[in-house]
Symmetry: C2
Subunit: 312 residues, 2 copies
């Protein structure tokens, strides 16, 4: 058993059992891939893959269990490398953040600014993806830290921590009947065509729940991934918008008005997530602490360090 075999097993699952793709992904020959799989199966005395003739179709029962362990081992192998870098180049390296447009645009700028000042030699990669992809990136090890309002809770292998809370708010064109409705009501809002976030983005679920609980079915005429797009179409008069309130800038969004809406929608909590068992560099802990001063390494580390849980 060697690491190349383990990498091949993992990659075979990721590439949906196409060994040619596996070879490409790992920059090696497919004959070698084929042989490595065979060798490992021989050594273990178990078939790991379900085959029809020569084609691989999926994992056998032992294969499934084995992949779980293999993933953990390769995660640890990567941890060793990060651990070594942590000591050989304390404040150098790469930090990969997976986050959504909303966070990248409105919550993280101050954090990133401070971080770059403190760690000028660290290459910061901000990946702007969907919440579901954030989870994927954390699980595959492609991202060190994930930040989003959705999807991060309820994953057993991912630890998440509250970053900050915020509310949705209604934006309307400068001249709009709703400007005079005070206090604003859900019923009033639901009478106009709505533009808001895609499903799965930036608290969209919260918005849907709010209307549903009120027995309203608003006409959502358009959905977008980010507030900038939403605001653009609200300005064009296609409807009124529901966006995260921090996405409104009184000066720059002069053509729009943000209506006081905190009584209408429930609070959202944006969370910071790290895969359990992922070795975080010192500057990774620093980044999280810059997000929220309460989230020190002393808080984060126990939650992501394996083999440290309590009794029974």
């Amino acid at each position: 058993m060697n690491f190349q075999q383990l990498r091949i097993i993992r990659e075979t699952v990721r590439q949906h059992f196409n060994l040619t793709e596996v070879a490409n992904a790992l920059f090696t020959s497919q004959s070698g891939v084929s042989k490595h799989i065979k060798d490992l199966e021989d050594e273990l005395g178990v078939e790991l893959f379900v085959r029809r003739g020569k084609r691989l179709l999926g994992l056998t029962e032992p294969g499934k269990e084995l992949v779980l362990i293999v993933e953990r081992m390769l995660l640890d192998a990567k941890n060793i490398k990060r651990l070594a870098e942590q000591f050989s180049q304390r404040d150098e390296g790469k930090l990969t953040i997976a986050t959504t447009h909303t966070q990248a645009r409105y919550a993280l700028p101050r954090v990133v600014t401070r971080f770059k000042q403190a760690f000028p030699k660290v290459h910061l990669e901000l990946h702007q993806v969907s919440p579901a992809e954030i989870v994927d990136m954390l699980q595959s090890g492609d991202a060190d830290i994930g930040i989003a309002t959705e999807s991060l809770e309820g994953q057993a292998d991912i630890a998440s921590f509250p970053f900050y809370t915020w509310n949705h708010a209604v934006v309307v064109p400068r001249e709009h009947p709703l400007n005079t409705v005070k206090p604003l009501t859900l019923e009033a809002v639901a009478e106009y065509p709505l533009i808001t976030y895609h499903e799965g983005y930036t608290g969209r679920a919260t918005i849907d729940n709010t209307f549903q609980r009120a027995g309203l079915s608003p006409d959502i005429v358009m959905s977008a991934l980010d507030a900038d797009v939403i605001k653009t179409y609200v300005e064009l008069g296609l409807g009124i918008g529901i966006i995260a309130s921090m996405a409104y800038n009184a000066e720059k969004d002069d053509a729009l008005r943000l209506l006081e809406s905190s009584h209408l929608f429930e609070e959202n909590t944006t969370r910071i997530a790290v895969r359990r068992g992922h070795y975080l560099r010192g500057f990774g802990f620093a980044f999280i602490e810059y997000c929220s001063a309460a989230l020190t390494a002393a808080v984060i580390r126990p939650a992501i360090t394996p083999g440290r849980d309590v009794e029974e």
Copy 2:
């Protein structure tokens, strides 16, 4: 990085940084050991060992952290092998139990009998060692299951479960003044020279606590590792004994009398322990269930499977 290097790192710590011993333990040459260490340090760009000249003295800071990860990886490597065996030879293999004399002699016979009947092809190894050594064997992977009354609780990396509870009791020669003291009191017991278990064995701590709380300092004239030895010397008249009550057999121990003592000493709980992250074979779960019907695989597995703990 390869597995041989990882094995060498682990073994170097175990062999107290004597590379010659490491080579012997791993059945390889010490030149290879030396080179592997150097190669890994070069690859990682970090010194893992503290050196004085050519001698290795200990682990550096990164070395300490690395060893933790390495241990986990090698544990997983072994888990893969056990997992494969589980499927290739479902009811064959080896099960290693580390336990104390008392358990091996009085609690386990019925379990072992039943186990051998159900799994005739499994080679059962009963290692009779001290409680502290049980912990070592579990941690090093040399034992699959540990059973003892002492030492198994409070280890973060070991999960333990209650097996059964029992009491200490006083044994005296057939003709002895204490036979007529009813109910028996601690004060009466403390007036005679005592023979009982060594410290760290079979609830000795419980016995000491009991006397101390009563303000008594009995004269323990002799201590032994097991009840058979204790009973022998009680028979010879060297003192009265305090043993686990299940170690008394009315027929075979005809020369002795067991005095009702359950009101004197607090209950002891013998526990079954498995290292967290250790892959237990199907027959391993069966063995535990034969010990106590409440300890099914459904109970044990979640407690020893990593990466399955709850949120935050």
